[in-house]
Symmetry: C2
Subunit: 507 residues, 2 copies
């Protein structure tokens, strides 16, 4: 990082070095995390847990060191004092440093350790409980997690001047809280009540998709995934594609590690999954290099991140335009009858909607309903208005309310997601905020780039990615979530673009 021509304090310069070190330790941990999922033999588990705990402790120790607080205080009254000019990278960086420090010091170390131990214990029991449809076996452990999360929320809230639940949300998507989300989710619920039956009726009236015949060889699927990911823009000189049980995008901006899993009967699973992760990867790779390893150089939050995976997977890849390009590629890869690979048929295949119990299998129209339910339930759990023992009933009632069907069992209900059992409260809204932001960004990109759909029809992601790099990736965390959207699209988060997209695609 260069400080030429700007007036910053020595304390701020010390902070940038400290945060660079913290980020570098976190990169090491990210790589080991990838290895745990993609490479590590089972015997390595316990030692890996120790390695990650030591790195987390070192990183946390640097952040909460009294010298950090002293430097922040000194930098705040130095040349960077006063209200930062909007768009001032260093001022934003310092504010983010203070925010990270506030979050880290607000939590007593004993509580952090207790949370880590409780999550680790609960997660193991949850895996069995889900498999055996036995909520009662994991309920006491989940109650402990909720208890500790409430303590954490109570400790964070005054430090961040947020409500307890919003203080947890802030850990995933800073700058967005219940007051933003409530009305958006309420509106969406109303939209869905009429849109979903209508869309299902329309789908039932349309021809059924012709399903291509497998098996689809794993090597062919992998080559296809790699080629399409490269087409989006990923450079495999600085990235890898591997296998893992739960696909993710990890690693670092210059060494991205994408994983997927292959189903020999369904190539769409790996293909769409890899393109989703490629969207995440393109964000990381496009972050501002001048502020690498600084808070302002990081992605702007989980909702912002999800907007980048979904703009690729849902907005661009499943568009009629790109499917016209994709069809012949698929036929070239897998051969056989060309009929299933016609763009219109791919649309029927890749854009099925319907009511289901499982969030990760949900289509883009019903997915928000899954999130809305979780948002309400986790608010109630953190507020103390819902006891863990009452969760299964509340889940099933709530599910009926948002989607009109009742889960047959807890494995298809409140046991399905790892998040709560791992201590992650406040994360779920990010998925839907990201989906909405993706639609809003795509609409703005279409206005800015009249040739966008023609480019996608040629399999050319260059224009879209160039626009996203300028408007989102390259901006890092300079702007808050709504300001980022305002600068890119002319308005803060507005779900109207998302419902317009759904209406155009499904109604």
């Amino acid at each position: 990082m260069s400080f030429s021509n700007i007036d910053v304090s020595p304390a701020y310069i010390r902070l940038t070095k400290r945060f660079e070190k913290i980020a570098t330790i976190n990169e090491a941990a990210a790589m080991l995390g990838w290895d745990s999922s993609a490479m590590m033999p089972p015997g390595g588990g316990p030692a890996r847990g120790d390695q990650l705990a030591v790195l987390a402790g070192l990183s946390h120790g640097l952040l909460t060191d009294p010298a950090t607080a002293a430097d922040i205080a000194e930098a705040m009254v130095g040349p960077m004092a006063g209200e930062a000019a909007a768009g001032d990278w260093h001022a934003a960086n310092l504010a983010l440093m203070r925010h990270a420090h506030t979050r880290a010091t607000a939590l007593p170390p004993d509580l952090v350790e207790a949370q880590s131990r409780a999550s680790s214990a609960c997660e193991k029991v949850w895996r069995i409980a889900r498999a055996e449809n036995d909520f009662s076996s994991v309920a006491p452990l989940l109650a402990e997690i909720v208890h500790l999360s409430r303590e954490a929320a109570a400790a964070l809230a005054p430090a961040l001047k947020l409500s307890p639940y919003d203080a947890l949300m802030d850990g995933y998507q800073p700058g967005i809280g219940t007051a933003d989300v409530e009305p958006i989710f309420a509106d969406y619920q109303s939209f869905l009540a009429t849109a979903l039956p209508a869309a299902i009726e329309r789908q039932n009236a349309a021809p059924a998709p012709i399903l291509p015949r497998g098996p689809f060889a794993e090597a062919a699927q992998e080559a296809l995934c790699r080629a399409m990911s490269e087409r989006v823009g990923l450079d495999f000189n600085a990235a890898r594609l591997d296998r893992s049980t739960h696909p993710f995008c990890g690693g670092t901006p210059t060494d991205t590690r994408i994983t997927t899993r292959y189903n020999s009967g369904d190539f769409a699973q790996s293909l769409l999954g890899v393109l989703h992760e490629t969207g995440h990867a393109m964000y990381e790779r496009g972050l501002p290099k001048a502020f690498a390893r600084q808070p302002v150089g990081e992605a702007a939050g989980m909702a912002a991140h999800e907007s980048q995976s979904l703009i690729v997977e849902m907005q661009a890849v499943r568009s009629d335009a790109f499917l016209r390009f994709l069809g012949p590629e698929l036929h070239k890869t897998f051969g056989g009858d060309p009929a299933p690979y016609a763009a219109r048929n791919l649309g029927l295949m890749f854009r099925r909607i319907g009511r289901g119990y499982i969030r990760v299998e949900a289509d883009e129209m019903t997915y928000p309903a899954h999130v809305i339910l979780r948002f309400r339930l986790e608010q109630a759990l953190i507020a103390g208005d819902l006891a863990v023992a009452d969760l299964p009933g509340a889940w099933n009632d709530g599910f009926f309310e948002v989607l009109g069907i009742r889960p047959p069992d807890d494995s298809s209900g409140c046991l399905q997601d790892i998040h709560w059992y791992d201590g992650a409260f406040g994360y779920f809204p990010s998925y839907t905020l990201g989906a909405m932001a993706a639609a809003q960004l795509m609409a703005a990109a279409r206005r800015a780039l009249p040739d966008l759909d023609n480019a996608l029809t040629r399999g050319d992601f260059g224009p879209l990615m160039g626009w996203l790099r300028a408007k989102v990736h390259g901006v890092g965390s300079l702007l808050g979530f709504n300001d980022l959207l305002r600068a890119a699209t002319g308005k803060p988060l507005d779900p109207a673009d998302f419902t317009a997209h759904l209406t155009a695609r499904y109604l």
Copy 2:
């Protein structure tokens, strides 16, 4: 680690926690080092360098922290004061902590950093210089490395009460110095002067080996490597086998990462390489679990480590006994004419000797000659008796003296090994000390286990590995190199077992 029933000071307990943390950071670095060689895309290089440098700095910082010195001083006058009883694990652990601390604090941080920078710069130029046979291009960088290594040796020598060169050797194999090595190497040179011509004559009189016809499919080679490595005892629930340009054994005791490379025309390269690395892996895996992440729980040095790779690769695998088992396995794997896979023919194939220029391609009889030359030259470089500019001439003269042939160029001469260009002086003797120790241990194992060769004929490594685990692996660094050998074989390092082995095999 448990301290029940022993009288140790609080300072010592603090030290064990500190060294556990250091070892855990080093484990993380080891994993990232493996990833760099086996997985990382090229774009990840610069960031990985930063990650490893930060981890090295954290580990070094913990070791050289004034609190470490204070705790060592306190522990030394506490209940563990006085001469440690031989075989007292905690006393040995404390002595090793002090030794590590002495080494780390003896070197000024500026010198360590200058060495790191010089090695990094020199290594890059060396790769080109070796490819282009241009010593002069890398000579100034090597001169800087030698200069810094001399400074380091001068700083370490008084702290360790060793000569400068021995202080460098101590970094690779503690407890062995020039006074031990000189007479052993002089004797070996005399042995070789008569043994090598005689062995070559005998080889020339024997039939030429029948070479099996390739290509040997990579997947088949890999499956074979894996199966044979498992037969030695490696458990792939706690290990991986991958590819890298330069094969090595990395990772940690509970998550061992072996690499190899495959040559479609020669399966022996991957097979013998993997079995060599398996020997290293078995040592790491057999280290005393009660002292995991403590200095006394580590391997006893590089010579000790090499003894474990060579006892597998050279002593056991290339024995007539094991080749009788291996032959049918090879034929089952690769098919074709069974004649090349007869045990006698495999012996002719796997036990070729001859004069050559390249150390890493040398057979077990001439390999020590390569090491003896390097030992003498690096002593002279560190003593200041040999200028870098004179190295090529000294190399070629010395090579003629030990093996009777002159390298045609520097790429086949003083440019062939990375070690010096990477700043590693004092390492080379470990290879030959390890080979000699392997022969000595194998002789003792044969005496202790009369059924050893029958077991190898059945492909059963159990008895040999059980004996090594008890006598070497499980002893960690409790004993110095010579004491380890004395406890296992009844005598300190004695090259007579090695020359007896060579005489039996080649004469």
